[in-house]
Symmetry: C2
């Protein structure tokens, strides 16, 4: 192991994106694991950070090491590490408890519900991320990945968004005493879901919904045929273009819409579909759009719908350990059902040298990955 | 018993509100109960029906007998009636299963979640209501009321709205693994709630929230001092006028708002407060505003809040049997804690002769009641 490593880092204050040679990190506590980074996925949040609009560097630094969708290989374990060994593949979670861990959620290892807003997030908020050749992390923040998922496990983190969202949907729907529960493997059987958006979050969400038994529709801007439409249709979902079909027509075509899973990140499209949510339906928001976009709504009609149709709207961010474990299990299921489609989500594998184009250039393909090691 | 009875009925098609002498109903099935009406409360829905904007008469009739907030006395029981006897006080529920009872919710006796929209509602939708000297109903739709609650039990039905809403809040918040559950008698302990509106639904909701342990604020238009403000403050809630304090100032004053309970029925005020809902908070809509009111929202900020703060928004309508039972139990609790305030909600008791003024005149006081018998 060399004493230095290459990292990709960004500075909001200096409006700068560059690489550095950082000292390679070493284990300093017995519960830590040293990891060689294999793949790091790039997502909208990374690109937003690279417009210098979002993200915070660690205290005392101008630069934040990017990257939060990561797959790595264990290369050293501390004396107290129990369940990981050298050679294991791991996906780290992103959020860490609030600084003093004084909020109830963080104390319960549920920093995804942190109530102080003082949480930290690797690669996003006050902690360096995984666009580095090596990193060190506590065992409890690492999730073991079967070797068979080596080529797709970088998709774990984006899939956790759907896993956490669906976990909440079933918890919310416990209000319906006859609803299927998480005890069922196909709790969505007989129900209809609409996914908004056909990016990586939308496609992975579509896969998760189909596995849970939902009749699934993907509603997105681009006209078909297009590669994403073909991909989702090959999964068994129906692709519908928002340029060709209005939300009202969509609802007419589908019938009662039980679940809408927003993975499009713009308020306008999301709120245009909210009025067609069905009786006892749930709308899940996952996107974080830029601030300031105004939307004119028929507020009273929306309110009437919410009340008269017993609807629920939830927002979900970040994921807990169970959602990472469910995502890894689901990736295994996806790989059995749809090996080609799962691979097709990763439209580009690049060397770290390509970072500027990937982070600040035109957004192309579905999911781009930086390979730090093979 | 006379062979006829006086009823108060409305016709949308004839734009007419009047009284009739109807034949008094008799028991025709062994599971039925015959009831003498004592008190019937008047609410916004009744007044809306009397603008000829809402409500449907029974099939084959031009007129709908009004009234859905009712207290009555059992005067005859069918041969199969098990748990009610002559002299018992009862509050009937309102909604009945969809015509063919072919939806899953109605089959599970949860017509409050009816998914066909073909449910019927006494006094509102396709079934005559309780503004009649006598009525007949199946035992299973009647809820026994202790004699001690004779003077206030007409408030049961409006209180069920809060009971069903809170039932759902706790079911939704099961997504938070450390949250108190319905097993606790004070699941709101340590949490802060804002009630929008200080009408009967808002005041009864405030009482229910305080009993559950919430630190409770009532946010309503009228400037204090006013009788409703004095009433809610005497319960231990804090009254804040929306004319004097903006939603942003409200949030600054309160801190993290865990629950907002909308009981104001207008979209503008409701949506103006939604942006200040706190981390992991739930917003409960209960009002049914007139259609067509536009609201301009900062849609992307609302969406960011929903996602980044893990918020939930739910609408709730109608109530199940458990909510009626909980409302009756809570009325007993309220009567112990706040006997004067509970009585003060009923600001007027009137003879049936006053129906026109009460249903189509100026809306005065808090809760007006028509006394059909003493």
């Amino acid at each position: 192991m060399s004493n230095t490593m290459r990292v990709i880092a960004v500075s909001k204050s200096k409006q700068d994106l560059r690489t550095f040679d950082y000292p390679a990190p070493a284990i300093t506590k017995d519960n830590q694991v040293r990891i060689r980074t294999l793949d790091v996925g790039i997502c909208g949040t990374d690109r937003e950070i690279c417009t210098y609009a979002y993200g915070e560097p660690p205290e005392g630094s101008d630069y934040l090491v990017l990257g939060h969708e990561s797959l790595g290989e264990v290369i050293e374990v501390g004396a107290d590490v129990k369940n990981l060994k050298v050679g294991d593949l791991v996906v780290p979670s992103v959020r860490r408890p609030c600084t003093e861990a004084h909020c109830k959620p963080c104390q319960a290892d549920r920093q995804d519900y942190c109530s102080t807003a003082q949480y930290q997030e690797r690669g996003i908020m006050s902690l360096d991320g995984y666009m580095a050749e090596y990193y060190v992390e506590e065992e409890k923040f690492l999730n073991l990945v079967p070797a068979e998922l080596r080529d797709v496990a970088v998709l774990t983190e984006p899939l956790t968004i759907a896993e956490k969202g669906l976990q909440q949907v079933w918890q919310v729907q416990k209000r319906l005493p006859w609803a299927c529960t998480e005890l069922s493997k196909r709790p969505g059987h007989g129900l209809k879901a609409v996914v908004l958006g056909a990016g990586p979050i939308g496609i992975l969400g579509t896969m998760a919904l189909i596995v849970q038994g939902f009749e699934t529709y993907v509603y997105s801007r681009s006209k078909a045929p297009n590669p994403k439409a073909e991909l989702v249709e090959s999964l068994g979902a129906k692709y519908i273009s928002a340029l060709e079909v209005t939300p009202e027509q969509l609802a007419e075509q589908i019938g009662n819409i039980d679940l809408i899973y927003e993975a499009v990140g713009t308020a306008e499209l999301a709120f245009s579909v909210l009025p067609v949510l069905g009786v006892n339906g749930v709308f899940v928001f996952t996107g974080i759009p830029p601030e300031g976009e105004k939307v004119e709504l028929l507020g009273s009609n929306l309110m009437r719908n919410l009340v008269l149709k017993n609807q629920a709207v939830i927002g979900t961010v970040n994921a807990d350990k169970a959602s990472f474990e469910n995502a890894i299990a689901d990736l295994g299921e996806f790989k059995c059902r749809w090996p080609k489609q799962l691979e097709a989500i990763i439209t580009g594998r690049h060397t770290p040298d390509a970072y500027k184009e990937l982070l600040q250039g035109k957004n192309t393909g579905i999911k781009n990955v930086i390979q730090f090691a093979k």
